[in-house]
Every structure is written in C-alpha cells, then in structure tokens.
C-alpha cells in the first residue's frame, strides 16, 4: 500500500500534463474553427506540406 505515496503524485502529474495540453489547444484556437481542418486534410498532398517561412507563422500565432 505504500506504493500509493508514489503513485498518487505520478497520477496527478500525468493528469496535469493532459490539462496543460488541453489549455494549450484551447488557447491556440483549435476549438474555434472545427470545419476547415477537416477540409485541409483532403488537400494535404496537393501542396499543403510546403509552407511559407516560419517567421510568418510565429507572427500569426502570437500577435
């Protein structure tokens, strides 16, 4: 039963990591547009892999 002293913080930590991942996904706007990503995936091979320089991306995500 003493294993619980170890398992308890580990399980909480794991859950916390998931919470942080969720908070990140909400803040990056993943729940605001749920239609377009579904369409984007269809054209991925047609050229979505090529992206403009990353400088633009950081600008878009962090105004």
């Amino acid at each position: 039963m003493t294993a619980i002293y170890l398992m308890l913080p580990v399980s909480l930590l794991l859950a916390l990591i998931f919470l942080i991942a969720y908070v990140w996904s909400v803040r990056s706007g993943q729940y605001e547009d749920t239609d377009t990503p579904a369409m984007r995936i269809l054209t991925e091979e047609a050229g979505h892999a090529t992206r403009p320089p990353s400088a633009h991306q950081s600008l878009l995500n962090n105004p």
Partner: protein, 799 residues
C-alpha cells in the same frame, strides 16, 4: 486547354495564371471549383484601402513590416477554395501565411507591408474570383472569441478535477479504508479539496456572479439555488475533511459544475457564419466614387462631406440623402421602403439614402451627412437602445423564484426539526436539503431541450440566434408579415427564366427590346439582362395591354402577355403558358412571355409573385394566430391580400419603417406577443421591436437585418409547423422540469431524514442529469415528427 472547357475568358485567365504558378491542382480538387471572374479588376478600385484612416482599422495587426488582415470572402464554398486561398503565398511574393475559416467564410492573410499594399492584396483576391466583402461594418468587428475560449477552459478544469476526485472517492466508496492504513482517508480528502478549489472559484465563477447579479436586481435567478447548493456541498465537505471524517461531497460538486458547463457549451454553440446583429452598416459600402476636378476618385465613405458629388452606377447604393445633379432614371427603393416598383427621378429631385439606380449611371450631390439620413435615423429609435432577450425572463428563471424560496424554507424547517430531536444532526440536515435541491438536472433541461430544437430547425435552414428564441416563438400569438420578399418573392434582381435556355446573343436581343420600353416590367427585365451595349433594333412597336415587339438582327422578338405572344405561334408547351397567370401590362404583371423568331421560348418570372404554398401556410396560421400585413408598397393589391389573410386580419399598405415599428408596439400594448416576418432594411425597426424578429433571406449568408431568426425563403410555408414545434419543445422543457423535480423529491426524502450519504449523492446527481438530458433530446426529436417539420419544410440539409 488540356481538354477543359471554360465558361468565359476570365476563367481561362485564372486557369493559366494558376498553372504558371504551380497551382494547377486547384482544378483536380473539386468538380466545379469556384473561380469565376466577374469583371476585370480596375487598377485603382481598391486604392482607398491604403488611406491610413481606413487601413489601420481594417488590419488586425501591423508592426510596420508585417501586417495581418482578415477578409470576409463569401465566395468560399469548397475544398478547392480553402486550398487555393491557403496557397496564396505562391502567387505573389510578399504574402505570408493565409488561413481560411470555412465556417465564418473568412481568410486571414499575413503580408509584408514593404512589398505589398492592402489594396493590391484585395485586387489579387478579386482577380482570382474571391472578392472580399468590404462594407462599413468591416471596420468595427466584434471580438467575441475570448468568451467561448474561457468557457472551454472552465469546462476543462472542471472535467479534470471531476475525474481525479472521482478516483479517490471510488476507492473510499468501495471500502478501501477498511483494509488499509487509516492515513489515506484524510490524505485523499485534502488532495480532493485541493482539486475542488479551482472548480469552485474558477469553473463555477459565472454562477457566483449570476447569483450576485440576480440578488442586486432583487430577483432569484436559477443561478441562486445552484450557488447555494455549491456552497452547501463545499462547506459540508470542508468540514468533513478538516475533521478527518472523509472526502465529503467533493466528487458530486465537481461533477455538478462539469455537467452544468457542458449544458452551457451545448447552448452557446451558435451559427458562426450568420450574423444576427446587422444594421445599415452591413449594407453601406466602405467607399464611394467621388467626382472631383481631376476626375473620379474612390474615397472612403467616412470622408464624404455635404456638397460632394458622387457618380453612381447601376445597383450602387445611395449612401446619404442627396439630390440628382446629372442624368435621370429609375431608383429602386425596395430594400428601404418595401415598395417594389422603382420610381422615376430626374435632375433636381431629392433622393433618400438606401436607393439604388436601375439602369444608367447618375451624378448626385450629397445634402446630408451619412449618419443623419432618412434611413439611418431609424437606428436612433429607442427600440434599438434596449437590451434584447434579457436572461431574467426565461422560463427557467421565472420558475426558479418560487423554487428557491421553497427550498430555503424546507432546509430551515428540516434544520429546526432536527435541532429539537438531535442537535448534532441539525446542521447536516440543513445542508443536505440544500445539496439535494441543487437544481442541476433542472438547469440542464432547458438548454438541452431547446438546444436540440434549435439544431432540428437548423437542419431545415431555419437558424435561431440562440436557444431561448424557441421560448419566445412558443409564446407568439400574433404574426405580422411584410409583403415584398416575404409573402411574395423579392423584387430586387429576382428574375428567372423558364423554358428553352437562351444563348448570350439571344439575351442581348431581348435586352435591346426591353430597354426601349418604359414599362416597369421591361425596365426590370432590361436591368437584369444588361450585359454590354445591346444590338440596334428595327420596327419597335408597343401594344398597350399586350406587350412589345421589334426586329433585332433579322429576328422578331416578342415580349408580353401569354395570349398575345403565343398568337399563331408554336407553343413551348409547358404549364406556365396558361394565359391567366399574368400578363405584361395589367399592373401586377409578374410573368413576361418571350417569342424569338416566331417560336415561343418560355417566360421570365419577375419577383413579386406569391411564393408557392404560401396560401396554405397562411390559412394554417390563421387558425391559431392573429395575422397582420404591413407593407411599404402602395395599396394596389389590397384586395388580393385581404382575401389571402382572411377575415379578422388587418392589412395595411404605405407603411414607412417607423410606421411598422409603431404598429408592432401598438399590438404589444394590446397584450400580444408578436412575431415579425420581414426581409429588408425597411423592416429593421419592426424586427427589433417585435418579440421575435424573423428575417427571410433568399440565400443564407446574404444580408439580413438584425433579427432573432434567419430563415431561407423557401421555408416560409412551413411557418405554422415551426411555431407548433416551438410550442412542443417548450412542453418538453416543462416535462423535463417535472422529472428533475421528481429526483429532487426522492433526494429530499433522504436529506430531510439526515441520511444523505456522499455515495447516495454521487449516484443520484449524475443519474438525474443524464436521464433528464436523454429525455429532453429524445422528446424534442419526437416533437419534430409530431409537428411535421419534415413534411412542411422544404428539404433537409445534410450539413
């Protein structure tokens, strides 16, 4: 071109352009990719966008080198559109990342300000067929996104805490402490307490605020018993943890908040691509063409001053009250006044804002500022100042007043009784009653029942602003109709041809003949067909009461009434060629028949005819509702509409926008709950004043004035079924309330006897919530069948 057919030179240009830039895949992605170039982009058409005043308000962000802008692009409609717009950076250097939001029909583009101007970007989009919508309201776009974000975050925190606390609680419920060291019980208690604290403070924050706000306004909203229950749950648990007795009800508390927030997410999911709050600003252009000494120049509307001279082309909007300086022609005011016939205006005549020239260009002089015109003054009426749909009047909040008082009295009574019997259990009995009466299932019943009803209607092209509108719809007992665009199909540009398809050349012939006649139907037909200069004609003849005829390029063209056009000719043989349908010159003429070169080709339907099946719908409504017709049109069709609406209804013509508003207010004073069904800016005041404003649109996503419901025009005949369905949905809410009250009574039996253990609470709470939600969603589905939505509404959308 690689075996492809192109409808026009523009599409071919786009094809070549895209191929050169390695974007030829565009044509593989969808069968009919939507690039349609309507007109060559005039170089300086968007030059006004570079004016610092406008540019700074349009840009989302700018740091001097990079800028980001969000454009509304209604042309976005398929996968290929998304792909092309997101690969925009391949077309022109200087463009960075572009991201499409399909639901909102927006594209957000980052670009280098040094290499590209905003006007060039707009011109580029226009040249490939994705013209951005630039209207006066593009300048002040609302920032509502953070609200949904915070709701999702609160939900996440509550779910996280609920899941983890549950793990600890299940251990204790299953009797772990009996065979383990007793130290775990208080440890689990303290950990649970730590997890529950953010739920209480952060996730449930809106309930504390709601309860406090309600108290300050001296009303007991549903937030109050929820806040009371949360407080009792947490207080009792805190006591149990501190005194080392266990974990208390923390699992139930976190679960309660989690379920409540799910209800809120379900309720708040609205239609993103629709705007329910538009005013004249969405209709006004961002810029106008001003005539200056050096020639024409496009300037922002905000720079317009009294005395400026503007050049208006066909279909462009008169932005402020003005006077005609040069040219004359017909002005279409249908959008502002509801009058479907265009009026003749010539030099010196006064023009009200909101009209559009039909036919030729016209020079006008501005005599009043944009904000003080006849049209815009409607928005300064007090009806627009009051807050709509206050949450205090919803069904649940009215119900909760009596409910809360009874719960508090019951809790005090239980506490007092146990005080006399066994004082050690008095506090516990008091908190138990508050806990068990916490109206979680009750709070979920309305969001889920009405939210499901909202989705059912959405599937048929009827979109409501929010779920509460359903309650208002159910209460309606008077229905007010606008005529043009509502009962009848709108007149603006609404012309359809039925019969053998016409070639572009043949359309030119018809345009030439129609353009010569001054009859309103001819004018509208010519305006609709207009495409370049029509060919010359010979032997033009107008036969009063029958129609017009002339020879164009050696072919005889006849336009007019069925009998006259068909005289001695071979008929096209379709159902519309019945002579009684309408004629060219009888005043209400709505159908113009066409014969070319001695052969009947079909007929044009000019908007203004009654929509199909409207008569049955009105008859069905008249049985249960009071009907009123308010039209801005003149009274030439009074008898027809009096007959349509039937006895007991009232029909008023020549109503100004302000008259309509006043008429609705008068009905409301008489104790009626009014549904206004309208379409144009002329109904804006009435839509706002009414209890439920329903805007009818030809195509969802096009302009509609501020309203509570936006409906596709084809669904007008189903109005009676929609109202029946709303009433059914509200009955479902009452039934759900009954079920959740039943659970409360069962819980109270435990609570009042002082035996409410955490495990009873942990079972009862989710059980009641889930069963109420399941019942609400299922019953609303059944109601939709009972109301006959699928039978009476046009067709179901798959998306």
């Amino acid at each position: 071109m690689e075996g492809r057919d192109f409808c026009c030179q523009g599409c071919l240009t786009v094809f070549e352009f895209l191929h050169e830039n390695g974007l030829g895949d565009f044509y593989r992605l969808a069968e009919r990719p939507g690039v349609q170039v309507k007109s060559a982009v005039v170089e300086d058409r968007f030059a006004y966008l570079d004016e610092p005043v406008l540019r700074d308000r349009l840009l989302d962000y700018s740091d001097g080198q990079m800028a980001r802008v969000t454009f509304q692009v209604p042309a976005i409609h398929c996968v290929a559109c998304v792909w092309l717009l997101e690969n925009l950076f391949k077309l022109r250097p200087g463009i960075g990342r572009s991201v499409v939001d399909f639901g909102k029909q927006q594209v957000t583009i980052t670009f280098e300000t040094g290499r590209m101007r905003l006007s060039e970007l707009a011109a580029l989009l226009t040249s490939i067929g994705y013209e951005p919508t630039l209207r006066l309201d593009s300048l002040d776009r609302p920032q509502a996104r953070s609200l949904t974000r915070s709701l999702y975050l609160r939900l996440g925190v509550a779910g996280f805490a609920f899941g983890n606390i549950m793990l600890f609680s299940v251990c204790l419920y299953s009797g772990m402490d009996r065979f383990s060291v007793p130290v775990f019980k208080p440890l689990f208690g303290w950990v649970s307490l730590g997890l529950a604290l953010p739920v209480l403070v952060y996730s449930a924050g809106s309930y504390w605020r709601g309860a406090w706000l309600g108290l300050r306004q001296r009303t007991l909203t549903l937030d109050f018993p929820i806040a009371l229950g949360l407080l009792a749950l947490f207080g009792q648990s805190l006591y149990e943890v501190v005194s080392g007795r266990g974990v208390g009800y923390l699992d139930s508390m976190a679960g309660l908040v989690f379920f409540l927030l799910i209800g809120r997410v379900f309720q708040d999911r609205t239609y993103q691509h629709l705007s329910f709050d538009r005013d004249y600003k969405s209709f006004f252009p961002l810029a106008v063409r001003r005539v200056e000494a050096a020639g024409e120049r496009t300037v922002p509307l905000s720079a317009l001053a009294v005395g400026d001279r503007l050049r208006l082309r066909q279909g462009e909007l008169i932005p402020a009250d003005a006077r005609v300086r040069e040219g004359s022609g017909l002005i279409d005011y249908s959008f502002v006044t509801g009058e479907s016939e265009p009026v003749q205006r010539s030099v010196g005549d006064w023009l009200y804002a909101g009209g559009q020239p039909v036919g030729g260009a016209m020079d006008i002089e501005i005599i009043k500022p944009v904000s003080q015109s006849y049209l815009t003054s409607l928005w300064s009426h007090e009806a627009f100042a009051k807050q709509r749909g206050s949450a205090l009047h919803t069904l649940l909040n009215r119900f909760s007043r009596g409910f809360t008082l009874r719960v508090v009295v019951l809790a005090l009574a239980a506490g007092a009784w146990w005080w006399a019997e066994d004082p050690s259990r008095a506090i516990r009995a008091f908190t138990s009653v508050l806990i068990v009466a916490c109206p979680c299932a009750l709070a979920l019943s309305a969001p889920f029942a009405l939210g499901t009803a909202q989705r059912w209607l959405g599937r048929f092209g009827v979109f409501t602003r929010n779920a509460q509108v359903m309650e208002d719809l159910a209460r309606v007992n008077a229905v007010v109709f606008d005529k043009t665009g509502t009962l009848t199909s709108g007149s603006r540009g609404n012309v359809r041809f039925r019969g053998d398809p016409l070639s572009d050349r043949e359309r030119g012939w018809i345009q030439a003949v129609a353009a010569r006649s001054a009859h309103p139907n001819s004018v509208r037909l010519a305006a609709w067909l207009s495409n370049g200069t029509p060919p010359p004609l010979e032997g033009f003849e107008e036969v009063a009461g029958c129609g017009v005829r002339a020879r164009v390029e050696g072919h005889e063209v006849r336009l007019g009434s069925s009998t006259w056009v068909n005289q001695g000719l071979e008929s096209v043989g379709s159902d519309g060629s019945d002579g009684s349908v309408g004629s060219h010159l009888t005043g209400t003429g709505t159908i113009v028949h066409v014969a070319l070169g001695g052969r009947v080709r079909g007929w044009f339907e000019l908007g203004g005819a009654l929509r199909p099946r409207v008569d049955q719908a009105v008859a069905a409504l008249a049985r249960s509702h009071e009907l009123v017709l308010l039209s801005g049109d003149n009274g030439r069709e009074r008898e027809k509409f009096e007959a349509l609406l039937g006895p007991g209804s009232s029909v008023r013509f020549d109503q100004s926008p302000a008259d309509k508003l006043a008429a609705i207010a008068e009905l409301q004073k008489g104790g009626r709950s009014v549904l206004m069904v309208g379409d144009g800016l002329n109904d804006a005041g009435a839509l706002r004043q009414s209890d439920v404003g329903l805007a009818v649109v030809e195509q969802v996503g096009t302009f509609s004035p501020a309203s509570d419901v936006i409906m596709e025009a084809g669904q007008v005949p189903g109005l009676a079924a929609i109202l029946r369905f709303a009433q059914g949905a509200v009955r479902v809410v009452w039934a759900s309330i009954g079920i959740s009250l039943l659970y409360n009574v069962i819980g109270l039996a435990f609570a009042a006897s002082g035996r409410l253990s955490p495990i009873v609470c942990a079972i009862l709470m989710p059980l009641s919530s889930v069963s109420v939600v399941a019942f609400a969603c299922g019953a609303v589905g059944w109601m939709s069948r009972r109301a006959g939505l699928a039978v009476h509404l046009d067709r179901e959308r798959t998306s």
